[in-house]
Amino acid sequence: MASHLAGLLGLSNDEDNVVPFTPKKGLRGTRRQVTNLDVEKMSSLRFYYDLMSQPSRALFIIFRLSGMQYEDCVVQLRNGEHLTDEFKHNINRFQRVPCINDNGYKLAESVAILRYLSAKGKIPEHLYPKYFVDQGRVDEFLEWQHNTIRVTCALYFRTIWLDPLLTGRTPTEAKIETLRIHMERNLDIIEEVWLAKSEFLTGSSLTVADIFAACEIEQTRMADYDVRIKYPKIRAWLKRVRQSCNPHYDTAHHFVYKISGTGPQAKL
């Protein structure tokens, strides 16, 4: 279990974490669809993602809200499509999703991708501000989330949902309890600090910070965790985020709703 830490995101390129698989189709078989109806010329921006991955969903929602033209390149993580040599050499050397190829410029890491496209004028300013002071406020959240909610929610999801599926072994109650405590320590900070005075994480309107955070938290539904029970502010905020992002939010979370057996309104 080397690189357990990267592996816990379920997107590791680490060999010990590789799920054995036989790719049914190579990358050539990767499903590619064109999003916008108006496709006079094919966009030169390719977006590689899997809606099972939290940051993939966040970027998907952001791209859709931005009305950006891009080519949809779905990478099926469960079939190990990201683990092929072809993916490594031609698409993303880290063998993860999401990533982009913008006319030959390859970029990984969701926050870096967002910033790059914003600098190119593709992301509306209300989602990611251009003025550096306002941008600083959103960046503060985007940098904070990695080692706090991202890592703890992902670890919770992975240990309780993904690992048992891959290994057939279920975690002990004590282990689940520890993971929950770590995760809730960070959810507490969202509830008490980030959402202390505002409707959204970084102010009075929706930004990419909310989208990244919501996608991370929604993932825990699949591990039967209901964030809404203990956290009234998070509950109300999640509703606002979903409303502000729909229909794209529900499209992106289609699998999460399906796998968890919970629709957005359902009680867990």
């Binding site: 830490l5 050397r93 600083g136 940098e143 990695h146």
Partner: protein, 228 residues
């Protein structure tokens, strides 16, 4: 905002050191605001008003309070307080350095800080006993998985992002230097590129590097005592 920014830091914290060195290299004036973590100064109500997350580093520029070192780098660069070499402005170079800065959180910073906490910080402060060898081996394995990726995926040129020193080098070398307290040194045999790169970063950021790491370069036992 013509007044100098206030910089809150403790040189025991790797990102604090990295930003401190960056500010020194850029010759950016700042008001020195040390926060002694060993005295838990970050947990006071007074400091909570500076940084609601009660962590270092943090900066205050007029009425604007900001935490998270990478966010601070961007803010400083956009307000012309860092050199273009340290955090490039061109679209593609900036994309590349951002890719690194986002990547390092979980792939390098997290394993380094977990190892440091378990193997040095907690035992030295009597919070937890020293972990078993088996546990240490696991922590080291995670750290070295990160080094392996630096070696294979990042260090193609002299520095992480190319021929010049950037904040990316300062952040990661600082995280790795921290491990000296755990008596860990990067093996030249196992990670030749990483070992040489660490020397290069040290050289390129002198004399500030030496000053920022003075505490770490004491013998680990001594440091442990002065901490306790």
């Amino acid at each position: 905002m013509s007044k100098a920014i206030k910089y809150y830091y403790d040189l025991l914290s790797p990102p604090s050191r990295a930003l401190w060195i960056a500010l020194k290299l850029a010759k950016t004036p700042f008001e020195d605001c040390p926060v002694a973590l060993r005295k838990k100064e970050q947990l006071t109500d007074e400091y909570k008003r500076i940084n609601r997350f009660q962590k270092v580093p943090a900066l205050v520029d007029g009425n604007f309070h900001l935490s998270e070192s990478v966010a601070m780098v961007r803010y400083l660069a956009d307000s012309k307080k860092l050199t273009e070499q340290l955090y490039p402005t061109s679209l593609e170079e900036r994309g590349r350095i951002d890719e690194y800065l986002e990547w390092q959180h979980l792939n390098l910073r997290l394993p380094c800080s977990l190892y440091f906490r378990e193997a040095w910080l907690f035992p030295a402060n009597g919070i937890k006993p020293k972990p078993k060898q088996e546990q240490i081996d696991k922590l080291v394995k995670n750290v070295e998985a990160g080094f392996g990726q630096l070696e294979r995926l990042w260090l193609e040129k002299d520095y992480l992002l190319g021929p010049n020193l950037t904040v990316a080098d300062l952040f990661s070398s600082s995280d790795i230097e921290q491990l000296k307290l755990c008596q860990y040194t990067v093996s030249e045999k196992k990670f030749p590129k990483v070992a040489k790169w660490l020397d290069r970063v040290r050289e390129a950021s002198q004399p500030h590097h030496e000053l920022a790491h003075a505490f770490l370069n004491k013998k680990p036992q001594q440091a442990a005592q002065s901490k306790a």
